[in-house]
Symmetry: C2
Subunit: 319 residues, 2 copies
């Protein structure tokens, strides 16, 4: 029906976004609030409930088919619980699915946020009609998701794979995952900032240094990209190093899966144009064993809305 | 029917094996011949035809359901052709499927040999009843295959993924695939031999040196394992290095897929007991983001018969 909608929720470590999505993938209305400072499961659920009610008030006459939640992991899909005290302070064993079901009387589905975003890109984004879609998010962390024939690929016991922690350089920095040189430790936003900060000699003669008023601690991946776009040699060299590491991870995913399409998203990929020449060259060079250069490597289309739209789709696709 | 059989063929670079397999997975009879020296498509197909006829003579009264071929890649499954002039001299664009169909009047299926072996292990080997099976072959090369819910995972355009060429140490040796430090370049039989050969100082004081009569060129992975099992410190240290690299590749596959089971096969894995303690320790250490220590890492059960049995199963599973 035209008036059918699903609520999509993107529950991140910083913000929560709640939107109403039509069966055609149109985001009809959106509400967003910071959630990082909301302490306690009860306050969090109260905030979420009120955002959903606000969203529903924006679409009078719509039929709510259900609520899809894409949440920063770890989540337990089977139990419908959020198990994330790391980036969602105090959100440990929160039965979000049961709570929302009780409050709104509709089906509720919980997904990892990387899976939800990948599903959104598959539905109406950069991965449409793709049999094998790999979606990579490069931001504060690095997340990976696979959509095979429209279905989220699940690992052992329904677990969400964490390709961001596959190892690409054993001599690289130590990550909280326990490994040296995992992908996240080399290409995440903080990792790229660290590359610049640890090269004080060259940093102190760069445009970037002026941009941060001589305070290296203020450097982030966004500023490095900005300086690089302004032609700063040092910033360009840092991007080049990161792009090489990014290439290795992409080559690995291509070698192991040979997906049709790889969709790149996340804060660091806002500057994808700076990375793309290195990525394309490296991938076409690694074309001997698998048809790597036929793999379509593209930026995401849905930006910050991918997770919310994909979460809504997890409900809408059942109808 | 009890008397139904399929012919399974394992076409390698060195030997060809042809067997008759019952619907219950019993290998009823087997014929094997060297094929490396058979030059020309025509001689090769004649040899294959005569082996199949011999095999069928061993099972009088059996109903032949079809022929499954697992061949050393690259193969083109869609066209039913072998495209491998590298390890099968002169076998380029050989229409093996069409030829066998014409000769025997039954359905013929062509698979990459790693996929066929993985399917065999899934059917009656170490990967039975596994929703997500990763099969790794470590021998002269390193091959990977994925079986998801009993189906061979295919990449773009039906291509076979080549996880053996995913990169695990960019400072590693150059491989023919074009990359430095891909998995194969670090853990294949020749790679392990090379590790020993390139450390002459320590090699010359080792038991291994005596085993090869002071001729380093005679060292292979098999002899290194033998010396290691005899307690030779140098050989043990080489195995330890290789086991560490092997662990990284396994951790990567586990991070990206979280399979239920990983089956290890191939010549190098005949000495799996030497590798296992390092593998187990490394995998359990990498347990933060995905449930790595719950992944079942086991040796293959079917040995040299896996490819042939899996190829036969590709026919039998259709009935």
């Amino acid at each position: 029906m035209e008036s059918d909608i699903a609520i999509g929720i993107d529950l991140g470590g910083t913000n929560v976004r709640v939107g109403a999505v039509s069966t055609k993938g149109i985001l009809l209305t959106l509400h967003e609030l910071p959630i990082g400072s909301v302490i306690g499961e009860k306050s969090g659920m109260t905030l979420l409930g009120s955002l959903i009610r606000k969203t529903l008030l924006d679409v009078p006459g719509a039929t709510l088919l259900g609520i899809g939640v894409g949440a920063t992991g770890p989540v337990n899909r089977m139990l419908g619980t959020i198990q994330n005290p790391y980036t969602l302070s105090t959100w440990e064993n929160v039965p979000i699915v049961a709570n929302l079901k009780e409050s709104f009387g509709v089906p509720v589905i919980l997904e990892n946020d990387a899976d939800a975003a990948a599903l959104g890109e598959y539905w109406i984004g950069a991965g449409q009609k793709t049999s094998r879609l790999a979606a990579i998010t490069i931001g504060t962390g690095v997340g990976t998701a696979l959509i095979i024939d429209g279905q989220i690929y699940r690992g052992l016991d329904g677990s969400h794979p964490e390709g961001g922690h596959h190892i690409i350089d054993p001599s690289g920095p130590l990550c909280y995952c326990g490994a040296h040189g995992c992908w996240e430790s080399l290409v995440s936003g903080p990792a790229i900032a660290n590359l610049a900060q640890s090269d004080m000699n060259r940093l102190s003669n760069s445009q970037l240094f002026i941009l941060v008023n001589g305070e290296p601690s203020r450097i982030d991946a966004c500023l490095i990209s900005e300086a690089a776009m302004g032609g700063d040699e040092f910033a360009l060299s840092i991007i080049k190093i990161a792009a090489n590491y990014l290439s290795i991870g992409l080559i690995n995913i291509i070698s192991l899966f040979v997906p049709d399409t790889v969709v790149l998203s996340g804060g660091v990929m806002k500057s994808i144009d700076l990375f793309m020449p290195t990525l394309k060259q490296a991938i076409s060079h690694h074309n001997v064993m698998v048809p790597a250069s036929r793999v379509n490597v593209v930026p995401a289309k849905l930006g910050y809305h991918a997770g919310l739209i994909g979460a809504a789709y997890s409900i809408l696709k059942l109808h």
